[in-house]
Symmetry: C5
Subunit: 261 residues, 5 copies
């Protein structure tokens, strides 16, 4: 399965951070926005809260799902999947369902493979649908897990930004001897709030959103496949199968047969 | 399918922005509210976050759904649709379901056409309902996608306004030599918050709302059509068909047969 | 259908606004809280955003549902409805379902009338339930539409209050020559926030709430009627019908047979 | 049905308000936190908004549900209910379902009584389940109504606190002649915000929460009873009935047969 | 059932609090962040509000569920459960369902034991599924109760932080004689807000999250067991049983047969 960059993510990051960097540069340089302890509090605290919140294996898994935000799997086109299923259906109706067995080796998609295997093994259409739906919800739960963790980070980050700012404010207010030092001290205190807002709104929440969208799209394709497998197991007319599968494909994709362009 | 302006949207924009412009003019001119770097941060950052959040094809598609907020499709009236369906039903009961085939060419609405085609092709009522409902949810998902993206922009915009204000505040606090410059510097810092609030509450969120309402309305009409097609395929009495379809039409539209006036 | 004032709404408005007016009067007169441009921004901007958000016909319809917040429809008592249905059921079991036809003219409630008409016309109980439920959800959607629009106004109003305050603050900060003028200028800037909070929390949101409650209540009564009509069409024992309908009535109303007292 | 104090509620109120009173006392006495006009605005305004939001009969009913937050109904133990149902089941299987009629008089719980009455009257198990479930949702809606009203008060109170503070701030800023009076004036302005936060977070929201929990618990017991009645009407084996009813009881209560200890 | 530390929770707490302590130390020592009355208000008030909100037995039970956030139950591996079920299925199909009775004594998991007992006792598969699902939702409700209470604490804590700060501010503003004392007084006032934010975001909310995740995981395993028991009671082919159970296990766990590593 080939992959390629998700250009939207890359362009989004570049434009958002580029513009902010330019705005920083205008008013006296980027240097004043860099403060290591502040980064440690916000980033470390957010990761800490997330590790309390989720099992470590899920946190680690979420980093592996992170790649889905930056890369696009060159999945089989829905149209191609439908065409293949129609061919299988025609064959099955002519030579019997067991004739599909020989095609199984050439199927690369593991989900389709499993569905066909269940069909060849003579599972009832009803059982096939149950097993595959349960699998979809299993996959979906795992993917949503990743998205959920980034959403959680997106809510913890601003909170830790505020915690950092409160620490800075209390320290400043306790030792307010020199009025001239108030301004810079407050600037430093505000930087954690700034980090929290940037991390949340330009990293964690958008990434969580992309993972969620991708997960939905994948589930939709998988639901289409279930419809095809069940239709095959039912020995339905290929034309009915086509109509059922097509109804999962949006208008454009039907005409052009392209996706994620 | 003819379209015309959605007057409500136009009037809404004019009144909201007009009143704000007048309020600005009262207190020293509109000029002080214009700051290019601030616009770049808020608008560019919001679009950037949105591109990370959604696949590029969805972001682009959302701009094509934007027209639904400004224009009204002069859709077939529900009453007219019902009348046509009753006529078809009478014909089908007299001359057989296949007699509808000749009417298919004159149908302009693609959704009705597909439903009738499935009926003529002899699909079972149950299958027709499934295929068409799946299509409705497919269309709905695409439309909600557009609405969802504008909602996301409506939540990112104020966040980026705050980020811009934090940048301005930190810069101002770091170099607080001249007390007289504090006021104007803070005014500039606040302008990004102002942009974020205006973009969110007077553009992104209301537009998202209108897209959502239109999508619901369209789905409702389509559900009525499904009811009609299934009733036709079932060979039900035209009077039953009428009652079933009418129950999707709100009271007023029943009497006047008018919509979107 | 007679109506009377909804005393709770009237008392609520009087007490809330009266207390606020008294609090204003204590600290230097109500006059300083009146500022026409501020009212224009908040109210005009809120209405503008709402018109972008909803089709104009829905905004207009929401004003017609507004009366439900101030008046109480003297609806037929649930108990009376049940008694009438039992009488009809007894008659139908003795003289046949068609004997009800003569009672139809005396029924004033349009929803009951429609249900009985469907029964007399020989629709299947299953179809009657579907058609009437679809009608209930149609009515419900229309009513919720009204409630939803006021909720939207309740979220736009504070946002526009904040936008107005930001405009005032920026204007003030830009021209901070005279320290003495800062106080009054800021007072004016805050007034839009005040208007936004009052409009939202003492007008829009409570009115939206009342519309929602009334809509729920009405739907409940209509669901009871559906149960009665279907029971009638099924030729069920009047005692079973009574039990089924009574289960939609809350305990108190069962004993006293009174509602909205 | 005997009742006793809900100690948790009492202790909760005492500890929360006690600690706050102590904190007040430390810094100059409780007196400075008492301001009649502020109380009037926040409490009166909140009640006003609530009366606009809900029908007066619901507001009044919510006060009668208030007692559920302070008292615990010494309801029949789930274990005892199950034991009684098993006895009834054994009797019904030996002497016929009509033999239960004589036991009806001794049942004090009205919900159980109604269920048994329906069974003796020969209603079908399916109808019994429908009628009783509809009754549960009727009770639930009424209880949730009470909880919902307190939740609404919990959201209006802070809003009215803010409205009061805005009134105070505007008055102060308009007449800022004496710098020394700013502090105390602002202290007074903040007091309404304080009242709003205390009323919301230490009274309205926690009480709404307790009402919600109690309502859920009651519904659960009632669902168990429905299971028992239906099992009885079905003439099921007492052991099956026991298993079905037990599955509604949490682990601990099964062993000890105690609740609300 | 053996348990071991949940390292993620421990590491999360250490890293979050460690970093915050370091940040405090940088700016003048941790001492200035310690204020007993502030701790009493925030912690005591939060616990007070929670005790009003929930029945005392639920609050106490929530502390017993707290251990699930810090320890991991070394539950039976899903793979092992599946293997055992397949063995039972093979035996039952060969020697009859009653032959399982002898295996019951060796089963340590109470939930599996109950399921097998119901099967041996000859309950219908349909009833078994109902009873066990009702049990799962019973367990789930209890666990979610714990999670819900910590979530409530996570919302009350910042509110009480704000209440504490308001008390401090009012006291400070009322007696503003010495300008030099304003800074430190305000620092103290802010400390309750700081406590509220830390308790909420680094203790209550993350712990609530972990409890929720663990509860979901447990429910998933139990749902797999129900599938196995019902499949056994139905006398289904062991291969079908395996496929059904496997669909509840995520991809990785299928290969490695490991969990919570």
């Amino acid at each position: 399965m080939k992959t390629r960059f998700d250009l939207a993510t890359i362009i989004g990051f570049l434009s958002a951070f580029g513009l902010i960097a330019i705005a920083m540069g205008f008013g006296g340089g980027i240097g004043i926005f860099f403060d290591l302890p502040s980064i440690l509090i916000v980033l470390g605290g957010t990761v800490g809260a997330t590790m309390i919140n989720y099992p470590s294996k899920d946190v680690i898994a979420s980093f592996s799902t992170l790649k889905h935000a930056f890369f696009i799997k060159k999945d089989t086109e829905p149209r191609v999947v439908i065409t293949n299923f129609i061919a299988l259906s025609v064959k099955a109706r002519r030579e019997g369902i067991l004739s599909i067995d020989s095609d199984l080796r050439t199927v690369s998609d593991l989900f389709i493979k499993k569905g066909l295997q269940l069909t060849v093994d003579g599972f009832e259409p009803h059982s096939i649908r149950n097993i595959m739906n349960s699998e979809i919800s299993s996959i979906r739960e795992r993917h949503q897990g990743g998205s959920e963790i980034f959403t959680a980070m997106g809510t913890y980050a601003p909170a830790l930004g505020m915690i950092g700012t409160l620490i800075g404010l209390v320290q400043m207010l306790k030792s307010m001897n020199n009025p001239e030092s108030i301004g810079p001290a407050m600037a430093v205190a505000l930087i954690t709030t700034f980090y929290g807002a940037v991390l949340s709104n330009l990293v964690f929440l958008p990434v969580a959103g992309k993972l969620r969208t991708k997960s939905k799209e994948e589930a939709r394709t998988k639901e289409m496949i279930v419809e095809g497998v069940v239709s095959l197991a039912n020995g339905e007319n290929p034309r009915i199968m086509e109509q059922k599968m097509l109804s999962f494909v949006s208008g454009k994709d039907r005409t052009f047969g392209k996706k994620n362009k």
